[in-house]
Symmetry: none
Subunit: 196 residues, 4 copies
């Protein structure tokens, strides 16, 4: 009844190869970026033969898309209940810190942006990741709106508001301008979050 269909069974070697290759790809993406990522290097670091990589992925873009899709598990959790300003500040503070951390798994964000510009499949992954990344913030904002704690002007959405909050942190990181750090978060919240 609940018997596993035979076609669902995957050769364990395939699964094992897939894992070590994607792990190596993510490491290298963070280290050298998309442009300098080579399949040879992924093969060397993972200990998997180049031909095996090409057996499973069509090329660099495809591999990077798969690798980035692995990042989905990193999702942030929604903070404990409380005043919006405080909850938002909590999320942004963590984000401002993470974005500076060079070992952060999403150090491959720039690589992801580059790859997205060149390949629709990666772009789809990128979009998903971005939406998952702001999801907790959007949820907190939605709850505040629902509770009447936050009032948005006509035509505005919490998604756009989330982008406006995140923008100053992320854009400065991407373009290597003076970063906004944890101490700057309260002023940012005061500036962007509507209300008294």
């Amino acid at each position: 009844m609940a018997a596993v269909s035979r076609s669902d069974v995957v050769d364990p070697r395939i699964e094992r190869s897939r894992e070590v290759v994607l792990a190596a790809a993510l490491e290298l993406l963070a280290e050298v970026g998309f442009g300098d990522l080579t399949i040879e290097a992924v093969a060397a670091r993972s200990g998997v033969a180049k031909s095996t990589i090409y057996r499973h992925w069509a090329g660099k873009l495809d591999l990077v898309a798969s690798a980035c899709a692995e990042l989905k598990s990193d999702a942030r959790t929604v903070p404990a209940p409380g005043p919006v300003r405080q909850r938002v500040a909590e999320i942004l503070t963590e984000f401002a810190v993470n974005v500076q951390d060079p070992t952060w798994r999403r150090a491959c964000l720039p690589a992801l942006i580059e790859a997205s510009a060149r390949c629709p499949e990666v772009a789809a992954v990128s979009r998903q990741l971005a939406e998952m990344g702001t999801a907790p913030l959007v949820q907190v904002l939605d709850e505040a709106v629902a509770a009447g704690e936050l009032r948005l002007p006509a035509g505005a959405t919490t998604a756009v508001l989330a982008d406006a909050l995140v923008g100053p942190i992320l854009l400065r990181a991407l373009f290597h301008r003076d970063p906004l750090d944890a101490g700057d978060v309260p002023a940012l919240v005061d500036l962007v979050l509507p209300g008294p």
Copy 2:
């Protein structure tokens, strides 16, 4: 005295090479994007030898940087005087349109972000370009603050405000999410710009 210093005189061949190379580079950038741009192709299209290109530029990044620098004339100018909201909306509307242009902006921005993450020199360029990009917006906001038309909370700066305004437009483009287009700009301004 008024004689032109010898070092100011440039071999006309050099000037000629520089022009045709940069022209070819810009054409190719628009056609194939940064990632698929090759020095070899620039040499072929321009009719200039590869070694000549390397004599004048350090590599692909340097060449593209020069090429983009040629575009400085494209810089946005500060809009005519008027109410802040209107001036800001004008800038953002143009930006929302440009960011969709598939030619050089989409081709170069992601590459610039990627390269900035790996190479400090490029990061410096990136930073300059980013600041030049938001300069008109910051200037408009500064003027409004000076005129008392806009009041910022304590600790907030116009630079951060500019990022918050630009964030929703740019982040959506970079991560290939639903773009904000010209029609969405008024709501964005209402949402982010402080005030009644």
Copy 3:
């Protein structure tokens, strides 16, 4: 007593695999030659799995050796009795024609020679095939000597004489010089065969 020894019994599946593989190998040898023959292609054409081929043969050389051994049945038969010159001419004429046949002889002989130079096992096969190839000719000459129809100088053997007769035909084929064809055989016999 008359029972078939158990070691003589072969699993019919093995026999079947052996046959279709060798047939495919011979076909491919004729089509693409030894150098371009691949085990993969033999597997594909025969419908037998690559692993099965490697289960029975050590590699390409071994497989080709087996395949060529299958050709032993092709051996030339001794011509009908008659005058030596006529019998010799008959054999050489057929040989001169066969040697031009582009299929297996041209495809295999050079490869066999090459392989023999690298691998003692193949050299042994090569030697056997060569001796089987000249056997009818040697037999005819031996019979003529026994009958007193042919007289050899002291120290000479019919084996060497056979080589001398075959040499002009085969060497020209191997080195792609002007071939000796059927019409040239009588002059060759007159020239090399001792006697009045």
Copy 4:
């Protein structure tokens, strides 16, 4: 006056590359044979980059053809005047010894034969080499015929006769049968050379 035309001048780097590559190719041909010769190995041994090799030769066959063409200088010289039997024996004796030499002759000849079967260009080279190889023998025979020392049957040529003399030596070497050595040469001459 005797000025070298400008188009005759070759970049010395090209000449240098050509020389070291062909030398390495000949060495490897002798060592591993045609089948196991790889362009990579030639590149490694010669110290010349693979791409440079491909710039000058179309592939393995073309390279081998060029390399073998370099062997043309090895030609044997015609022996001193004297009786035909003695002069022929002298040539054959040297040949019988050389053919056993495990270095290049035994190693390259099979490779050359193999390559000739697969590539018309190599076949042309092969033919030339073969003809140059028997040229001294043919010349000696021609001189004997001209001097009335040797009489050929109608329809026979000295070229065929040369092949008949060489055949027993070379065929046995190629097929790894019992070699004919120096001691066997007189009997071979007595057997094949027409006359009293």
